[in-house]
């Protein structure tokens, strides 16, 4: 088991949002977490990545059998957890390639692998950029600074490609994307999908799932998973709306 979430209760500022969530993710799987606004989707992403303002009240999260909750966010990242942000942050003055090489090398050091020098890294980055069809001119630009919404999301997928996480959580990656940008991002994710990693797609809409076919769909409501199924569940959900699952819990 790559990720095991057991009876997770978590929240923010004393307010419980996740109320007993269970989830199991194996390598090679793509899971979609869907749910209405306020259902706890975003909280789940942030708790998994280790956001400091979210607190875990009870429950366990195991990553490759180890307690993930004990690790700092940067340690989780080096262990192979990656989160693509809904609103990626700008880092002025630091170029994309400098930033990515720092991140890459931190992970390399952690795993006892050789660090890449700027030239070697540039070759590596060029290859990875093809996955999201990104022009190498973006390498020299400051991280996300002045990027359009679509460019920022592509940049998130580029980071995922460079860091090769075991578990990637894409938090509302489809939000605010036009159809072309969505296709590029989705194609990028499909290329990165492998038997060696797992992907959690957190999304409100089914739109993204037209491009990335999940193995499992989990519907979240009121901080719990209220319905689970295969990819056909997303279609049913779209046809019937979230009220349908809300009805199912009552």
């Amino acid at each position: 088991m790559l990720l095991e979430v057991k009876d997770l209760h978590a929240g923010i500022e004393g307010k419980e949002i996740l109320k007993g969530l269970n989830l199991q993710v194996k390598k090679g799987e793509v899971h979609a977490i869907m749910g209405p606004n306020g259902s706890g989707k975003s909280t789940l992403s942030k708790v998994l990545a280790g956001h400091p303002t979210y607190e875990v009240i009870s429950g366990d999260v195991l990553f490759e059998g180890k307690n993930l909750l004990e690790l700092e966010p940067d340690e989780r990242a080096r262990e192979g957890v990656f989160m693509a942000f809904q609103y990626p942050v700008e880092v002025p003055g630091v170029s994309n390639s400098q930033f990515l090489r720092l991140a890459y090398n931190q992970k390399a050091i952690h795993h006892g692998r050789e660090e890449l020098d700027p030239l070697e890294f540039n070759d590596y980055l060029k290859e990875k950029a093809k996955i999201v069809d990104m022009d190498p001119q973006f390498f020299k630009r400051s991280v996300n600074e002045g990027f359009s919404g679509g460019e920022k999301k592509r940049n998130e997928i580029l980071q995922m490609a460079v860091l090769e996480p075991k578990l990637a959580i894409l938090d509302e990656t489809d939000s605010g994307l036009d159809i072309d940008a969505l296709r590029i991002v989705a194609e990028g994710v499909n290329k990165l999908r492998s038997p060696e990693n797992a992907i959690i797609l957190v999304t409100h809409y089914r739109r993204l799932l037209n491009y990335i076919q999940p193995d499992f769909v989990h519907v979240l409501d009121g901080g719990k998973i209220v319905k689970e199924g295969g990819k056909e569940l997303a279609l049913e959900l779209e046809a019937k709306g979230y009220d349908w699952v809300k009805g199912a819990t009552n």
Binding site: H51, P52, A77, F82, P92, Q98, L102, Q106, Q159
Partner: protein, 376 residues
């Protein structure tokens, strides 16, 4: 310890051959004698105690002043010696250098002024920059004293009609140096003055900048960065005076304060009664990296006309949690993540420097201070 300057001034003034200048110097020294060095009782020096400068023993080190005309001397006469004792002392001993940019000429090569005081010395550079009508030039003023020393400099900039001056002031004195500077700027019709003031060094530094629009259509940028650590103290007092209509001023100052350092930013913007159509923007943002660091910021807008566009603000804070989290989720250790964000904060000022060598040098200085290695 003001008497040490009295003795040295008596010797110095004997050698002054220019009668008019001698009179000016004597007036200036009399003004210094009357006022002495400023003390924290003086409102403008409330946060900056210069007792360690006043009580130091300094050997005045002055080179020959450059030849100058009576017109140049008229400019020197306009220097406000009554501002404080430092200004008065500067003109009394001032080593005068004149940069005159002839009418309608554009000089591509920047004028470089480099100052470094030796151990135990006091230096008093006084630069007159006269950009004649329609001219254009760049001035680089830099300070790099390595020893315990006292720099007390002044720069007067006259930007005539349609002229344009870009001015970089880079203060990278050593940790034991004292650096006091005064910049006075006067802007003519449709003129442009763009300054970037970087303060990285010195035990105590103080920069007074005083800018006045004297005719319509002028535009000025008065930007700066102070990045301090240890027990460094840096104080910027700025006055931007819109006395005439339709001028634009922009001011962005940023501060990064670590350890026990202390920063002061006092920025006054005056919009006088007839200065309609003024556009004045001012901001001062500070990043405190340590609980023991402190900054006192006071942006002040005084507006006496309704038909103006003005905005000002100041912030003092830590790094944004969301930004830090983003970097952590990429596997960067916390210290490195914080340092990268701090660099990005400071770099926003450095990036406007149009001369690649200075920009690279400052980037390196900032990164070095943050122990970040960013290779391209």
């Amino acid at each position: 310890m003001e008497t040490q300057f009295a003795e040295q001034f008596r010797e110095f003034i004997k050698r002054e051959k220019n009668d008019a200048l001698r009179v000016l110097r004597e007036q200036a020294f009399a003004s210094f004698t009357a006022s002495g060095f400023p003390t924290p009782k003086n409102e403008d020096w409330k946060y900056t105690n210069v007792a360690s400068i006043a009580s130091g023993e300094w050997r005045v080190a002055i080179g020959e002043s450059q030849e100058f005309t009576s017109a140049d001397l008229e400019i020197a006469k306009r220097f406000a010696i009554d501002r404080n004792g430092f200004a008065a002392l500067n003109l009394a001993f001032g080593e005068i250098k004149v940069i005159r940019i002839a009418k309608n000429t554009s000089i591509a090569e920047p004028f470089e002024l480099n100052f470094a005081a030796d151990e135990g010395t006091a230096i008093f550079p006084h630069i007159l920059v006269l950009a004649e009508t329609g001219s254009k030039a760049t001035i680089i003023e830099s300070y790099a004293s390595t020893a315990k020393s006292f720099t007390n400099a002044a720069v007067q900039v006259i930007v005539e009609d349609n002229a344009s001056i870009t001015h970089y002031r880079v203060q990278k004195d050593g940790a034991e140096a004292f650096n006091i500077g005064t910049t006075e700027v006067s802007l003519g019709r449709d003129s442009r003055y763009d300054s970037t003031n970087i303060n990285l060094g010195a035990a105590i530094s103080r920069h007074d900048i005083d800018l006045k629009f004297t005719a319509e259509g002028g535009e000025a940028w008065v930007d700066g960065l102070y990045m301090l650590g240890g027990r460094q103290h840096s104080d910027t007092h700025s006055v931007i005076d819109h006395t005439v209509p339709n001028c634009v001023s922009h001011q962005t100052y940023k501060g990064v304060l670590n350890d026990h350092s202390r920063g002061v930013f006092n920025g006054k913007v005056f919009v006088r009664e007839n200065a309609h159509g003024t556009d004045a923007q001012q901001s001062n943002k500070n990043l405190l990296l340590s609980n023991d660091a402190r900054v006192d910021t006071k942006p002040q807008l005084e507006i006496f006309n309704d038909d103006v566009k003005c905005a000002h603000g100041a912030t003092v804070g830590q790094l944004e949690e969301e930004e830090l989290f983003y970097l952590l989720t990429r596997g960067l250790p916390e210290t490195l993540a914080k340092n990268l964000l701090t660099y990005g904060f400071a770099e926003a000022i450095i990036r406007k420097i149009g001369i690649e060598s200075i920009k690279t040098d400052l980037d390196a200085a900032v990164l070095n201070r943050l122990s970040v290695k960013l290779e391209v």
